[in-house]
Symmetry: C2
DNA sequence: CGTTCCCTTGAGATCCGTCAATATTAGTGG
DNA sequence: CCACTAATATTGACGGATCTCAAGGGAACG
C-alpha cells in the first residue's frame, strides 16, 4: 500500500489543509488501506457483531441504521462521499449496521490502527476528532428534527441537509441533486411511514418548494425551504483545532 | 492543582482500571482542573458561543439541549454523575447549551488541553474515545426512541435508561431512584408535550409498571417495563480498547 | 397566606398511521 | 420491442395517537 493511496485519502474535506510532518506520514502509512466496491443494497457491517473496519466513502450512498426487535428500523444517517464511519467501539458488539444503497466505493482501514495512529500524530488526532464531532452534531440535529419538527418541515430539513453535504463533493448545487433514496428510506430516517412521506413530498411540490421524482431532488424555492425547515447548516461544518500546544 | 484531584478524576467508571505510566501522569497533570458547584437551573455553556471547558460531573443532574428559533427546545441528553461532556468542537460556536437542573458539582478542565493530552497518553486517548463513543451510542438510541417508539414506550425507555446510568454511581437500584426532572423536562427530551407525558405516567402507574411522584421513580414491574420499552442497556457500556499496538 | 411552579384532567381538533386498492416505474427475459 | 414481474409510488377512507386550549388543584416557598 503505497503513499499514493494515502495521499488520495487526504483529499477529503477534513484532511485538506493539514500540515503533515514526516512522523505523521509514518503514522498514517502504518494504517493499512484497501480500496473496495460494494454492490447496491449490500450489508457491510452488522449489528451485534465485532467489526474492526473503518470506512472512507469515495463515492455512492450508504446508510447506517439500527434494527428493532419488531422488525422496524431507524436510519441514523445516510453516508455520502467524503464521510468517514466506523470510528466506533471495538472489542464489543457494533450497535449499528451499515449497508450500501447505491454501488459504494470505499477505502477500508483497520479501525484499531487508525486509533493507534491518533496517539502518534497530532494532525491525525485532530482530523479524527473533527470527524467525530461533526458526526455528533449531525446526530443531534437529527434528534431535533424528530423531536420538534412537523413531518413536512422534517422532510424538507433532511433533503436540505443531504444537498448541503453533497455540495462539498460537487454533487449538488442550489438547483438540486440526484438522490437514490426510496420513500421507505426517507421514512425510516424521519420516523414516519412511507405513505406519509409521499403525502409530504406532494405538499412540498404543490407549495412550489421542492420536487423529488425519478431519483432527482429539484429545489424550486430554496429560501422558502430553508425557512419552512428552520435550516441552518452550521452543524455540518468541520471545526478546526488550532494551537493544541 | 495536585495529584490528588487528578486521582479523584480517575475514579470515574471509564478511567477505572487504566494502567498509567509516568508519562501518562505527566500528560494528565498538564490538564488544569478546577472544582466548581453550580446552583440549580444555571446556564453553564451557551449555544452559539465559544467555550473551551470540559466537565466531569461529580454529582447532581444537568441537561444538554438545543434551542429552536420558535422558542422550543430539544433535550439531547441528561447529564449524571460520572458523565463527561464538553469534548466538543473548539474554535467554533457551540451547537448545544448545557444547564444545571439540580445543584451540580463538577470538575472543569480546559478542553484544548484535554485533547492535547490525548496525543501524549495512549490510555488517555482510549478513555476519551470510549467516552465519545458511548455518547454517540446514547444519542443513537435516543434517535430510535423518538423515531420508532410510541409515547408510552418512549417514556418508559428514558426512565429505564436513567436508572441504569444511575446504578453505576450507586444512585439507583431495581426499586427506583430520585429524579428531579419535571414533566416539562421529560417532554423536551421525548419530543412530546408535558400534558401528554402526564397521561403516559398515569398509564404506566395504572398498568402497575412504574410510578413517578414527588421526584421519585419507583419501578413496580421492572421486567414488564423492559419489555414494553424494548430496553436493552448494551448501548450504555463503555467499551475498552485493547492492544492498540 | 399568597404566589409561583408544577401537576392533573377534559373536550375537541389535527396530524399521522393503518388498511386497501391502483398506478407507475424499473428490471428481466423473450 | 413486448410481456411479465417486482419494486416503488400514489391516492382515499378511516381510526387512533398526540396536540391544543382551557380550567382547576396541589405543593413549595417566601
Amino acid at each position: 500500500m503505497g503513499l499514493n493511496t494515502n495521499t488520495s485519502v487526504l483529499s477529503g474535506p477534513f484532511f485538506r489543509g493539514l500540515k503533515l510532518h514526516s512522523s505523521d506520514h509514518e503514522a498514517l502509512s502504518s494504517v493499512r488501506l484497501a480500496e473496495r466496491r460494494y454492490a447496491p443494497h449490500t450489508g457491510i457491517t452488522h449489528q451485534g457483531m465485532t467489526d474492526e473496519r473503518a470506512f472512507i466513502i469515495q463515492s455512492g450512498w450508504g446508510c447506517v441504521y439500527k434494527d428493532l426487535p419488531d422488525g422496524e428500523r431507524q436510519v441514523l444517517d445516510f453516508v455520502l462521499a467524503g464521510d468517514v464511519i466506523g470510528i466506533h467501539p471495538m472489542g464489543g458488539e457494533a450497535q449499528h449496521a451499515f449497508v450500501s444503497i447505491t454501488e459504494l466505493h470505499v477505502i477500508e482501514a483497520n479501525a484499531r490502527a487508525v486509533v493507534a495512529a491518533m496517539t502518534r500524530s497530532q494532525p491525525m488526532a485532530q482530523a479524527l476528532l473533527s470527524i467525530a464531532w461533526r458526526q455528533n452534531n449531525i446526530m443531534a440535529e437529527h434528534l431535533v428534527n424528530l423531536g420538534r419538527r412537523s413531518a413536512l418541515a422534517r422532510t424538507a430539513h433532511l433533503l436540505l441537509e443531504l444537498g448541503e453535504r453533497l455540495k462539498v463533493a460537487g454533487q449538488a448545487d442550489n438547483q438540486g441533486y440526484d438522490c437514490p433514496l426510496t420513500q421507505y428510506d426517507l421514512a425510516d430516517a424521519l420516523g414516519l411511514t412511507a405513505i406519509h412521506i409521499n403525502r409530504m413530498l406532494r405538499e412540498l411540490r404543490e407549495y412550489g418548494l421542492l420536487s423529488l421524482r425519478r431519483n432527482r431532488v429539484e429545489f424550486l424555492d430554496y429560501a422558502g425551504l430553508v425557512e419552512l425547515a428552520q435550516f441552518d447548516g452550521k452543524y455540518l461544518e468541520y471545526w478546526e483545532l488550532k494551537d493544541l500546544g
